[in-house]
């Protein structure tokens, strides 16, 4: 066995008796021994002593006290937050329970109310009602346009920013777009309260408030046309017609030098933009160009 291996084994205390004899025969055996023996002069205990546990635990006691002051805060906050969450959930469910339906452009929705009344909501409209309170009070809020098929029962009210419509059991359409407010009755009786007046509508009657003027008229349909995917207008300003076109097709229409207050009578379909645009522009002597996917330009016809 060579010298270095002997040294390694000696350092690891793994020499056999024979190897040990060989190791002790080496020239520098004494040096090897001296190195190990003299290491003891550097022992730690000669210069640095570690405290025993008794002494040490005094340190711990000093530290333990200040920490204790704050340990009530965390559990307190936890309990408090449980109460806060509990209350807000309770409040939310008890006092709200509000159902909100919103339609986007070119979207319609059909809702069934808790009393089996039906509501068909037109594009870009919003309906809100309180589910929990429906038993006591049939009241909902409307922004936009919806058709109502109301089950017989207690008073049913539709509240809009421009007026309120109340019925007992009937079918009617409510339209509120900006300051334009229109109610059509298709069945039963409908009471419209708006502009500090009240009107009773029978089946086939129409109430309209547009451009600051109230007008009463008739409708020959059994149901609003938009529920059949057609929009129809009877002497309605062009800008209202275009606004509905934009809602149904989710487009933007730019009008170049068009008198938008002109009245329009006619309609357009909801499933074909080109046909719809033609239906509007031709009777009015207008022309159109479909620019990017959602952008249409309308202008006076060059004929």
């Amino acid at each position: 066995m060579n010298k270095e291996n002997l040294v390694k084994k000696w350092l690891a205390d793994e020499l056999t008796d024979a190897e040990r004899e060989a190791f002790e025969q080496l020239d520098d055996f004494q040096l090897h021994k001296d190195i190990l023996d003299n290491a003891a002069y550097f022992k730690s205990s000669g210069f640095s002593q570690l405290d025993d546990f008794e002494t040490f635990s005094k340190r711990l006691d000093e530290i333990a006290k200040p920490v204790r002051k704050m340990t009530w805060v965390k559990p307190f906050l936890r309990i408090a937050s449980v109460f806060v969450i509990g209350f807000s959930l309770y409040y939310f469910f008890l006092f709200n329970n509000v159902v909100e339906i919103q339609t986007l452009a070119s979207e319609k929705a059909t809702i069934e109310l808790p009393d089996a009344s039906k509501v068909i909501v037109n594009a870009m409209s919003e309906v809100r009602y309180s589910k929990g309170k429906w038993q006591q009070k049939r009241e909902l809020e409307l922004q936009g346009e919806a058709f109502f098929d109301v089950a017989k029962g207690s008073k049913f009210s539709v509240i809009t920013s421009e007026g309120t419509v109340s019925v007992l059991g009937t079918q009617f359409n409510v339209k509120q777009r900006g300051s334009y407010f229109e109610v059509e009755c298709f069945e039963g009786t409908v009471k419209v309260t708006s502009q500090n007046t009240s009107e009773q509508l029978k089946a086939g009657d129409r109430y309209r408030f547009s451009n600051g003027q109230v007008s009463l008229g008739n409708t020959l349909y059994q149901q609003p046309q938009w529920t059949k995917n057609v929009s129809s207008f009877d002497r309605i300003p062009i800008f209202e017609v275009i606004a509905e076109l934009e809602r149904q097709y989710n487009i933007e229409v730019e009008m170049d030098e068009v008198q938008t207050a002109r009245l329009f009578t006619g309609g357009f379909v909801h499933d074909n933009l080109e046909n719809a645009l033609k239906s509007i522009t031709e009777p009015l002597d207008l022309d159109f160009t479909i620019e990017a996917k959602n952008h249409v330009r309308m202008y006076a016809s060059e004929k």
């Binding site: 040294v7 390694k8 350092l11 690891a12 520098d28 040096l31 090897h32 001296d34 190195i35 190990l36 003299n38 290491a39 003891a40 002069y41 550097f42 022992k43 730690s44 000669g46 210069f47 640095s48 002593q49 570690l50 405290d51 546990f53 040490f56 635990s57 340190r59 711990l60 530290i63 920490v67």
Partner: protein
Amino acid sequence: MPKDLHDNICEKNVFSSIYNKYSKDVHNYLYYKYGEQFNPNDKAQDAFVKLWENCKNVTLGNARAFLFKVANNMMLNELKHQKVVLRHQKVKPRDYTNETPEFLMEKEQFLIQYQKVLQNLPEDQRVAFMLNKVEGKKHSEIAEMLGITRKVVEYRIYSAFKTLKRELEGFKI
């Protein structure tokens, strides 16, 4: 389930047995690695205080590794490249009855050189060598303490020895 209760470091008696088991080793580790001037006694105890503060987050099995790591970090923070000083005990004349004053002086010279070499050894080698040859720790114990393998411990001790031999060969005592 009962096992968990006994392994809970936050219990004073479990903690004190950990202190008694590891405190000396942690102290010696710091002493041999960094020397005396940065108060290895204090730092070793600081490491145990940290263990006590974190007693909820450290398991019994991880306590050793936690202590060594924390102790080392605390020392490093204070150190920032200071030179290691390891003193040696003065040679007392009554250790040697028959020797001449010249011999004693030579021995002192030897020890001064020894100190120099020891201080300049790479820390890891010095720690392994001293823990084994002076404190009597077995290779396997050192390996477990420092979280390394036996082979590495053997290699470090061997390297330290070779350096000491090379630097001390010239002295004849």
